[in-house]
């Protein structure tokens, strides 16, 4: 009998251990967490936050949150009378003086500007952040190149670090930051000198790469390279409670892939106008789950809605689904270099062939069958309706006869003599559907034979940027509210000119526009530049993006902004009688 009990006990060891482990793990994982107080506004962001270091912020989901945590010299605000439009207004700067030649900006900071820890916001905070942008460059550093001496300083600084690293020491003098046109004249005055007039400089300084940083709170995260003296910061400075911003909110909680919680800053100068005390930012990996979350739970705004879901809800007549023009264009990029990868002569270097391809695409059925939410078929690169005063040149649309004639003129009647052309795309979303349909149209209309090559994202990006393709699926979403955010992409020396298209007249027009202080003239020049682009067709535009939101009725402060921006300062959840669950 004793043996029997022991045997039973032995047998029970495993399940008991398992259960004990389970109990321990549940506690360890925080699944027993207590219910916390609710938020005034809850929204599902586009994806997980990548970084909250303004130096390297470039993703939309990060930018949205950054606008809540920091405030630039200027900031955005819903327009009085049209809350769906965001306009640029003074932010951390109370007053801005611009020199007559529009190249020197003097920003007078507001004396009541405060960081979330109560420290005053001073001009030196901007100098510190902008200098770091050059010394530790990232995605948007190029936006600082409008500032006098910025690009040169960045290069000199990097060259010296490189030299010391290679040789142990260098006779090269340290790069001198005094050569850069950013100076703190006194505690509250910042003077910025530009290379040439930049009509949208106020918009730029509202953007995260121009946010100030609180040097004091970052000090304990400094990492100084012994040999070169190069300073970097451990990213942990962006975690709560370390993160110090000057915006309407402070970062109260950040759990990866679960939630970010923002709490209204008690030190923000304009706190009286901050509408919500607590804002929760959720992220989802699965669009279907996030949609079901919105449908069944307490979410005020779903910032990313799948096209088919949005189309279905519109059909059902739902009032909370909103579709509105986006800030980008979907197109096919054509390799314009003399040789194709592999060394064969490139038939696509002939503009007539490229124009034939563009004229042979009937875009309407594509957007109707695949796009689903009324994307406008695109015959231009710059999306129409975004920039007041821009001439908005257009290429002709679907003209199969002209297309065949052009191809014949180029020496390939009915597609004869053309090699099989490869089209690459990344295997994500609907790209394959568009590619298949466009390839079929090219085959039917022109007799051009296309092979489709679906690639994983990283591989695709590498091939696209290395110009290792003949035709590639591409898209471009503008960064700042100016036409040049589109036209700059096809400058000969642009890092983003993936087509290898070089056109002197285009470069000249863009360069003249950059120096033009008269806004109307400037837009006219950029329009002429785009006209060249559309005549030469290094791209085949397909459609302009349309965004879709689900916004609960009664929610205020979420503008239908083409760039998908939102100023969390102004968001307000629908009233919740009896509080939140």
């Amino acid at each position: 009998m004793v043996y029997h009990l022991r045997a039973m006990a032995r047998l029970l060891v495993i399940p008991l251990v398992l259960l004990a482990l389970l109990g321990g793990a549940v506690i360890w994982s925080g699944a027993m967490g207590s219910r916390d107080a609710g938020a005034d506004f809850v929204f599902v962001n586009r994806g997980d936050i990548k970084t909250l270091d303004p130096n390297s912020i470039s993703w939309l989901q990060d930018i949205r949150v950054a606008y809540g945590l920091w405030e630039g010299l200027c900031t955005l605000e819903p327009k009085a009378g049209d809350p769906d439009e965001l306009v640029v207004v003074n932010g951390a700067a109370e007053r801005i003086d611009v020199s007559d030649d529009a190249t020197v900006y003097t920003f007078h900071l507001r004396p009541d500007g405060r960081w979330t820890n109560g420290d005053p916001v001073v001009a030196g905070d901007f100098v510190f952040a902008w200098r770091r942008m050059l010394e530790e460059p990232a995605d948007y550093t190029y936006l600082h190149y409008y500032i006098k001496g910025a690009r040169e300083y960045q290069q000199a600084y990097a060259a010296r670090v490189e030299a010391v690293r290679a040789n142990g020491a260098t006779t090269q003098p340290a790069a001198d930051y005094a050569t850069v046109g950013v100076t703190a004249l006194d505690r509250l005055t910042l003077r910025v000198t530009l290379n040439h007039p930049v009509t949208f400089f106020r918009d730029l300084v509202a953007f995260p790469p121009f946010f100030p940083l609180h040097a004091g709170s970052m000090k304990s995260f400094r990492v100084t390279d012994k040999a070169t003296g190069h300073v970097t910061y451990r990213k942990a400075f962006t975690h709560p409670p370390h993160l110090v911003g000057n915006g309407p909110f402070r970062l109260a909680e950040w759990v990866l892939r679960k939630r970010l919680r923002l709490a209204a800053s008690e030190h923000y100068w304009d706190r009286a106008r901050v509408k919500s005390r607590v804002v929760d930012v959720l992220s989802f990996q699965d669009p279907q789950t996030s949609y079901l979350k919105y449908e069944t739970d307490d979410v005020d705004w779903l910032a990313e809605v799948a096209n088919d879901t949005a189309a279905e809800l519109k059909k059902r007549g739902r009032k909370d689904v909103h579709t509105f023009p986006g800030f980008g264009t979907y197109f096919y990029s054509i390799n314009c270099q003399d040789k194709l990868p592999g060394g064969a002569a490139n038939p696509l270097r002939d503009a007539r062939v490229r124009r034939a391809l563009a004229l042979a695409v009937d875009r309407k059925p594509l957007v109707d069958k695949i796009g689903l939410i009324g994307q406008p078929p695109a015959t231009s690169f710059v999306p129409p309706g975004l920039f007041a005063g821009y001439p908005e040149p257009q290429a002709p649309g679907y003209e199969p006869d002209t297309a065949r004639r052009l191809l014949a003129e180029a020496g390939y009647p009915g597609g004869k003599g053309l090699p099989i052309i490869s089209l690459i795309y990344n295997t994500e979303g609907d790209h394959v559907l568009y590619a298949q349909n466009v390839a079929k149209q090219w085959g039917d209309v022109l007799g051009v034979r296309i092979t489709l090559e679906g690639l994983e994202n990283k591989k695709f990006a590498t091939r696209l940027h290395d110009k290792d393709y003949a035709i590639a699926r591409a898209s471009w979403i503008g960064d700042y509210p100016d036409v040049s955010t589109f036209t700059d992409k096809y400058l000969s020396d642009s890092d983003n000119n993936d087509s290898g298209w070089v056109n002197k007249a285009y470069d000249d027009l863009c360069a003249r526009a950059a120096r033009e202080a008269n806004a109307t003239e400037r837009l006219k020049l950029l329009g002429q530049a785009e006209q060249i682009l559309l005549d030469e067709m290094p791209i085949v535009p397909v459609f302009h993006y349309v965004n879709a939101y689900l916004i609960r009725e009664g929610v205020k402060g979420v503008p239908l902004d083409p760039r998908n921006q939102v100023m969390l300062k102004f968001v307000q959840g629908r009233s919740r009688e009896g509080g939140r669950r």
Binding site: A7, G30, G33, T51, P137, D286, Q288, T296, K458
Partner: protein, 302 residues
């Protein structure tokens, strides 16, 4: 036993090297998105920061840090270090995985035993059906069905949330289906085998009751294959499932496992793979140890 403990770090070292090599040969940069190209200076700055300029300096830098400080370094694509990411995600995956494992073993053994005892009957057919469904139904379908049924149709559970005990249930069930099906099948086959053996007939002939024979004699013999399956099953469920985590939005480790690779986040890949391997090896070791607990005839010291 001692030999196995020596093997442990050796196997981990080999896994590290192979993973390391794979992360360097895949194309693309962790610092680049799909659409926009980042300037060469920016990429260079980032690479220097992460010692990722070339494979040699990376290899020289990281293993040493991992061994001496237990620090997997900074993630190349996140504001959190690899240790912080794993520290946040692993407990969640472990809790969920253990929950799924408990369901899977309990239900699986029960189903398998019932099926064997009532061989050819309705219960046998039912348990076989459950096993078949569990094995062939992809987890994203099962997870989706559970989600729509119990969060939307009958809102018993709050959808896609983490932080309450009830949030374990649906993802736990979704995750348990596959191992449950395996356990049921293994138990059934082993049980049938044991039931027809001589000692069972003897026990019955000596007058022991049917239930006593099944519970005290058969199950114990039939359970060995199940226990050996528990090792890999635990490793798989504990480290999280990409699909289940995605559908239920559980902030576990499985998502990082896949996503670190798509992002080419070399340090995170290495960190997650090493944790996964360590768990797998540990569980295999535990399984071997538990053989001795269940079956005194097995002696590991020999």
């Amino acid at each position: 036993m001692g030999a196995r403990l020596v093997q442990f770090p050796l196997i981990l070292a080999v896994i590290y090297l192979v993973t390391f090599w794979l992360t360097w040969v895949v194309p693309g940069s962790p610092f680049e998105g799909t659409e926009k190209k980042i300037s060469k200076e920016a990429i260079r700055a980032m690479e220097e920061r992460f010692h990722a300029t070339d494979s040699a300096s990376f290899l020289a830098y990281y293993p040493w840090r991992i061994i001496t400080e237990g620090d997997f370094g900074e993630s190349l694509t996140s504001d959190f270090t690899v240790n912080e990411i794993i520290g946040q995600a692993l407990p969640i995956s472990v809790a969920l995985g253990l929950f799924a494992l408990v369901i899977a073993t309990a239900c699986g053994i029960a189903l398998g035993t019932l099926a064997a005892v009532r061989r050819g009957g309705v219960l046998d057919f039912l348990s076989l059906t459950v096993a078949l469904v569990g094995i062939s139904l992809p987890s994203f379908v099962a997870a989706g069905v559970l989600l729509v049924t119990f969060c939307v149709r009958w809102p018993i559970f709050t959808i896609a949330r983490w932080g309450h005990l009830s949030d374990l249930v649906l993802p736990g069930i979704a995750l348990s289906l596959l191992p449950m099906a395996y356990v049921a099948r293994l138990t059934r086959v082993a049980m049938l085998d044991v039931l027809s053996s001589d000692f069972v007939r003897t026990a019955r002939a000596k007058g022991l009751s049917r239930s006593s024979v099944i519970w005290k004699h058969c199950l114990r013999n039939a359970i060995l294959p199940v226990v050996s399956y528990l090792g890999p099953a635990a490793a798989v469920t504990l480290t999280g499932s990409f699909v289940v985590e995605k559908v239920f939005n559980v902030p576990g480790l499985g998502w990082h496992f896949v996503n670190s690779v798509t992002n080419k986040d070399q340090t995170l890949i290495l960190g997650v793979v090493m944790v996964y391997s360590a768990i797998l090896l540990t569980f295999n070791l535990l399984v071997d140890l538990s053989y001795a607990v269940i079956d005194p005839r097995i002696d590991l010291s020999k």
